[in-house]
Symmetry: C2
Subunit: 454 residues, 2 copies
């Protein structure tokens, strides 16, 4: 009888200790575990080794299998795939541009990469005189003659801005809209100065648009040094011709999948908190920062909660959205599904700004919800989070309706556009401690969201 009593007492004490762990203690455990184990970082290395995850690419399916397998091994309560039809644009093996005019620059090869969605050329390529445009808006100058010519958009990235996303946003229109505007004026093709903060010669790709009522023309990004070289060659020679060859092609859409993993809530399993990133990536690098890291961090949020034996009150769901880079078809499909199932989403967190040092959370929510979340800053600050404020969340989660809070994880942004959409975006560019502190910040926030009544 005494033995039973003692055992009961011990069980009571232990369960009570578990129950009374403060948020500060839980936060400290999460941070130390993330930094010591580096499990997300090790996963990222595995993911980067698989191969290009661009929608429809063969390796993208291997990556999806890998993610399922990681979630199963981490003992998530449920792991499943949501079918999504995705675009399938393929770069192909031929991708070149060179100067063909006589003179000292003849046969100078240029470092280029087809923009995502671009049509290819035929085998002989396209050649034409180059017309340079130093600011995207100048494409609308009435006296500009680009007919049967190649338009070279050379608007620089503004290094003077602290906000690198603002600098990107200013310069990226020449990439997204350049082909349409040039084709309206009869151009043959476009070459776009890479939108990047790094002054190297690696071309940075990314999505571009066509308009069905306007001819489609090929479009490439050019490395910064070769953009400078092309400018110099034009100044030196006056009229300059370039030849481009591209074998990229758009196939029929393919079936792919969002990968979803869950830990069921103990008290309110029907109330869901999503944490996610996008699983596709441009094919030139590993998609390490954009957005392999965000996906792995999202998996790690659930894994840390499991590893520390925390029992969340609400369901925590990790969603790896397919095809953010082209049509956001994964995000649309997810939002449509939860609408039709009438699932309740309390909050969603998206990580898609690189795995750099945590700085803040940008929240789209009622001001009272944001005020409540701001009271959690003391618990988050150790991870590097300094602020929680109103702002945009993320491309994928922004499709979710009726969530009380849509939250973007905001790490430091100074290095992101060195790597973004290019062969520079490789695993070695991710710092393990910076990445794991991001995982920790998101895990703590997820835990607080789960245990609070927003």
């Amino acid at each position: 009888m005494i033995r039973v009593f003692l055992i009961s007492l011990i069980v009571f004490i232990f369960s009570n200790v578990a129950k009374t762990q403060t948020n500060e203690e839980i936060s400290a455990d999460i941070i130390r575990t993330a930094l010591e184990d580096r499990r997300g970082y090790k996963w990222l290395e595995q993911l980067c080794d698989i191969g290009p995850r661009l929608s429809g690419y063969p390796d993208s399916y291997k990556a999806i299998e890998w993610a399922q397998s990681v979630m199963h091994q981490a003992n998530f309560d449920s792991v499943w795939l949501q079918p999504v039809m995705v675009p399938f644009w393929e770069r192909g093996s031929v991708e070149s541009a060179k100067i063909i005019s006589k003179g000292k620059f003849k046969n100078q090869e240029l470092s280029v990469a087809a923009l995502g969605g671009s049509i290819g050329t035929n085998e002989d390529g396209i050649s034409g005189v180059v017309v340079k445009i130093d600011s995207f808006v100048h494409i609308n100058n009435q006296d500009l003659d680009v007919e049967n010519k190649i338009v070279f958009y050379n608007e620089p990235y503004d290094q003077g801005l602290v906000n690198t996303f603002a600098a990107y946003g200013k310069a990226v229109k020449q990439r997204t809209r350049g082909a349409i505007e040039a084709a309206k004026r009869g151009a043959l093709a476009v070459i776009v100065r890479s939108v990047t903060s790094l002054n190297d010669n690696v071309p940075h790709t990314g999505i571009m648009s066509y308009n069905d009522t306007i001819p489609k023309i090929p479009a490439v990004a050019i490395g910064i040094r070769d953009a400078e070289l092309l400018s110099l060659a034009m100044e030196t020679q006056g009229v300059l011709k370039v030849e481009m060859k591209l074998s990229c092609v758009t196939h029929e859409p393919k079936l792919s999948y969002n990968v979803v993993g869950e830990i069921f809530g103990e008290k309110h399993p029907e109330e869901i908190i999503v944490v996610g990133g996008h699983f596709d990536a441009w094919d030139k690098g590993h998609g390490a920062h954009d957005d392999g890291a965000g996906c792995v961090q999202a998996i790690e949020v659930l894994d840390l909660i499991k590893r520390l034996d925390l029992k969340p009150s609400r369901t925590i769901r990790c969603v790896l959205f397919v095809d953010e880079e082209q049509r956001q078809s994964g995000a649309h499909a997810y939002a449509a599904m939860i609408d039709s199932l009438k699932q309740t989403h309390i909050a969603a967190i998206e990580a898609d700004r690189g795995a750099f040092m945590p700085r803040g959370f940008s929240v789209s929510a009622d001001s009272l919800v944001i005020e409540k979340m701001q009271t959690w800053l003391p618990v988050l600050r150790e991870t590097g989070i300094e602020w929680i404020r109103e702002g945009g969340s993320g491309v994928d989660i922004s499709k979710i309706k009726n969530a009380k809070a849509l939250i973007g994880f905001v790490p430091d942004m100074q290095r992101y556009f060195d790597y973004h959409h290019s062969a520079n975006d490789t695993f070695d560019k991710v710092h393990p401690r910076e990445m794991e502190l991001g995982s920790a910040a998101m895990t703590i926030l997820t835990w607080l969201l789960s245990e609070s009544d927003l």
Copy 2:
């Protein structure tokens, strides 16, 4: 007459516009200029190309000449050298350790670097059985026998701490005190696990101490992977012998110099604000983060003020302190000089934590002064500065007496100990935008200090 009036009016308007530029406008100009021109970053590349700047080293004098020349070219109002006697410890060409016991590890070379100040060995080297100590405090275990043996301090750096300086502080005693404690017990030499956050095989050096009443024994740092290998070899073989050869030597002290540059204040030239870093660096890498960057940022503070034609009310003085790494003789000499000249120092800012993204300023001052400084946060925030709070400042400026505020620039600290005191600390590890935002943060703070009455 009307013409004279108009000219006067124009002159009046322009001078008035200049006078009424707000701190917000000045701050924006400083940030954009730093990010666009990257002048400090270009200087850092030049400095890193010169060669090792360890006190007494030949290239340290070339670096001093270079710094003077940069300050002259930047048109500082005064540029001068303060003579300082500095220690002269030289690494020499021989620096090796290998396993000499029979077995599968025989002749395995270990990646080591003499600790700063260590004595050398004779040409035949020192050999002995290795005794491993997993926590520095265990050296005092009474039943430990290290007599005529080589002590291998293998206390790991604590990756679980967010504060990397705290992790460094915990583990570094084995480096600074290890030889003394081992020699007390009759050891022949010490091998110290590198105190670093990076799991590579590059040894991280740094100062070590002797005590004149205790025998001096040689001391080396060992790369992390070889620390693990050595542990494994000891576990595998039981008794393991290692041989060490070092040709490092301590010469007589030499004459060197603090480099000082100034812009004279317009209203209170006798009131000085110092901004500085230390100009010496360990010899294995470029001393890029530690502390070439801090020095170049200090020069850039004055240069940005000049470049933007700001007229500070008080004198802004850049001090590049010689010999921080060994005896802080530059700092002591500077403090003694200003004492004897009775110069008034309003404030001093030190940059010696790497050229990473700005986070805050740590201030040693009266709480009312700190409160006043905190009102400047809105003007500083764009550079990344999130906080100003009470705390330590810097090793060099802390010798300055009677300043109203001693201020340490605190950038993000996650990557610093990857590079610190090792061959990893090279120019390519510095990010231009992170570094220039640091320069901008210090320039804005210097300007505010100069124009306010603390």
